[in-house]
Symmetry: C2
Subunit: 293 residues, 2 copies
């Protein structure tokens, strides 16, 4: 293994992993090395460009912490997340479609009861959300664990505000369980379109590519129930100007809903509101797990 | 741009950069997205594997600092560095071949005069190096700037020792200029084979792939002179057990030299040494720049 040149390097790297005992890892790394090398050959990557790529990845790593995940942003903006989501979530017609996970999920969000307000001080117009979780067979799914997370009226998630240490507070984010009839209901705030964080290397990449960083307004949902595939998805707001140019390629027509505006008055939770408010109804249909329970 | 699936995502990402005004960047990113997506499709990357990849890259980013460059290690061990070096350094026969840069170069190494000892306390058997820098036409190149860096007898570079802050000291690393006749000469220590840093994510990757992390003993050289292409290369030590399994695929036959061992006695610098020492002679032949000077 001497005098390796641009034509022989790929086979040399593959041969070096001939002792790997994990067949799946061997397949993945063989394909990765082949495509990585094909890319570098195809564009005849220069040494200066390679250095720039090393610097870029280093910056992506350094801005990433427990509250900001720039590698996920990179995967999202390059369409890799949508591709991986799509090829792993083929579902029968009638099931709710999946879309990208995004970088803003936080483990361990607070639990709420049916009908409670998850905003916890996040600013925005009131929004009342209700719906049902069902199986593809139409049967209600009770006690499904529903995670919701969203941005506020400034387009920021709670994790994007200063104070991500001990003083961090979950806002417009929560978990609850569907009721005996599969229904859920909560109060939150109206989601707004927002730019993905673009003050870092991924933002500079989008700028350089002539791309905008905006996402159409949406609510994130993650729904888990025994015997069903985990569903990670969004509900998008109809009429949003970015529905056809989502920076992370996540919009699906079946996930767009009408978020109805109401004049001030008695809201669905019985409170008399002095401000306009919104209501959203959306049902989720889960696919049974392929694994035997 | 709605309802993008695994077949349409690639074209959607490419279409999103249609406003990019940098033709080279457009070419590079188009090819990158195509190959990244082809890889994910070919292995049908799962969501769990995608998460593992995000975690791996995050760890590579977090262990990287101003003295450790894990992304370069990753590029080196995946053969990308050798590929990029090879395709950018085609030289006429007779020129010294280039090889990988590696992660251990440090800007601003101390300057030395002809014949001085660059070890500065780095441990190892004495080694006296001499040679000449010439053009392909045979003419000596004077005042070429020569950067040298190497590991000590424990297989570590200076930057791998604790104390990389203000108290950091350059050891077995230095810069000097070739003399009027192109000659250079310095004292250092004997380079030893060593494992690339393998206590991080790249080390775990090599383990999982059944690969060892060792590199054959070598001296790094970077030589710059006006009117000539910059040369980044190594000189390898003949007989090393890792010459045919270099973890970073960098060995070239023309860069292997005989590092002669001598019994204790009067060394080339006139000192009477009570320990054995080594001598190495190696000439470097530079290629004229393609750019007009």
């Amino acid at each position: 293994m001497r005098n390796i040149n641009e034509d022989t390097i790929t086979q040399a790297v593959i041969a070096a992993m001939s002792g790997c005992t994990d067949g799946r890892l061997t397949s993945i790394m063989t394909s990765l090395v082949q495509h990585l090398h094909s890319f570098a050959r195809e564009v005849k990557l220069t040494e200066a460009e390679w250095e720039q790529a090393i610097r870029f990845l280093t910056e992506v790593g350094h801005i990433t912490d427990d509250k900001r995940q720039e590698f996920i942003l990179l995967s999202d903006t390059l369409g890799l997340s949508t591709l991986v989501t799509a090829q792993n979530n083929a579902k029968p017609p009638g099931c709710t479609e999946a879309t990208v996970f995004g970088p803003f999920f936080v483990e361990g969000a607070p639990w709420f009861e049916y009908g409670q307000d998850i905003a916890n001080g996040a600013r925005g117009e009131p929004c009342f959300v209700r719906g049902q979780v069902r199986g593809i067979d139409g049967r209600p799914i009770s006690a499904a664990v529903i995670d919701v997370w969203q941005s506020d009226d400034a387009g920021h998630y709670d994790v994007q505000y200063a104070g991500s240490g001990a003083e961090f507070e979950h806002r417009a984010r929560g978990r609850f369980r569907s009721g005996a009839d599969g229904h859920f209901r909560f109060r939150s705030i109206l989601a707004q379109p927002y730019p993905i964080p673009h003050d870092g290397p991924v933002g500079r990449m989008l700028d350089a590519l002539g791309r905008h960083p905006w996402r159409p307004a949406h609510l994130h949902f993650m729904i888990e129930a025994p015997g069903y595939e985990k569903l990670i998805t969004h509900v998008f707001r109809d009429g949003d100007q970015y529905l056809d140019s989502d920076a992370v390629f996540g919009v699906r027509s079946t996930l767009i809903a009408d978020w109805k505006r109401h004049d001030p008055g008695v809201a669905p939770d019985g409170h008399d509101l002095a401000v306009p408010y919104y209501t959203l109804e959306f049902d989720f249909v889960l696919n049974p797990s392929r694994e035997k329970q």
